[in-house]
Assembly symmetry: C2
């Protein structure tokens, strides 16, 4: 499915998506033209879904992160879809997971401080009729591994 060269390309681009194609080609030991075609093939296949700058929320004035577990009632399409749109439109939202279990959603947010979080919870979430239950957990530290390797 993915040979050694593709895997190496993936690894390098996950580590630094902004290296030049020539540099990438050198690191994975193929010609630049070959490398370029490989990268495009990976994109076409959907293995490489995109390239994103990673901004530090703390440096942008949001040093506090939290998970908000939400129960949405009734849990049907007409309620869930607007809720998802609402959450994704919040500037505080970093990620949203739809999960199986006692809670229905896990929202990862970055905020200025505790007061900001409180305001977000009270004005943003509990004021919505479909939100049946909230549980908030502060995040001390969040480490994201960028190197998702092939199996």
């Amino acid at each position: 499915m993915l040979d050694a060269i593709d895997a190496a390309i993936l690894r390098e681009l996950q580590n630094d998506a902004r290296i030049s194609n020539k540099e990438l080609a050198t690191r994975v030991n193929v010609a630049a033209s070959t490398c370029l075609e490989r990268v495009r093939a990976l994109q076409r296949r959907g293995v490489l879904a995109g390239f994103h700058a990673d901004a530090d929320p703390a440096a942008l004035g949001r040093p506090l992160q939290a998970y908000i577990a939400v129960r949405v009632r009734p849990h049907n399409r007409d309620v869930v879809e607007p809720f998802i749109r609402f959450v994704l439109d919040l500037p505080e939202t970093i990620a949203l997971s739809h999960i199986a279990g006692a809670d229905d959603f896990l929202v990862h947010v970055a905020v200025r401080d505790a007061a900001h979080l409180q305001r977000l919870l009270l004005d943003g979430f509990t004021s919505r009729r479909e939100v049946a239950h909230l549980e908030t957990q502060l995040i001390f530290s969040h480490i994201r591994k960028w190197d998702v390797g092939p199996m």
Copy 2:
């Protein structure tokens, strides 16, 4: 802290980290040389923490994702630090959060299937002495917002 041009640069690079500097300059309406210097300043300041390719776990043979909430006992430095290293070394791990609340860690994993998840839980986690409690939640869908804006 961050003027309109920096914010625009951030937005564009979060959306596509691999656009050329010239294209970026065009989009944010400055000269290419200015744009280059701005990007470097944002990196120097730590606002732009890195550039990463986003690989699709499903396309790499790990279509199933889950959160594993872990309680670690005793919750002291000598136990916690090796545990963090262990989790980050697992190929299944995508992200790890150290949190405040009933649970101590939330581990985001991507696996092949339910059997793989079961094996990971039994052989990887519950077999470790410091793991006092586990709670696993399947993830139906996970949406990450890339545009963390300034305040």
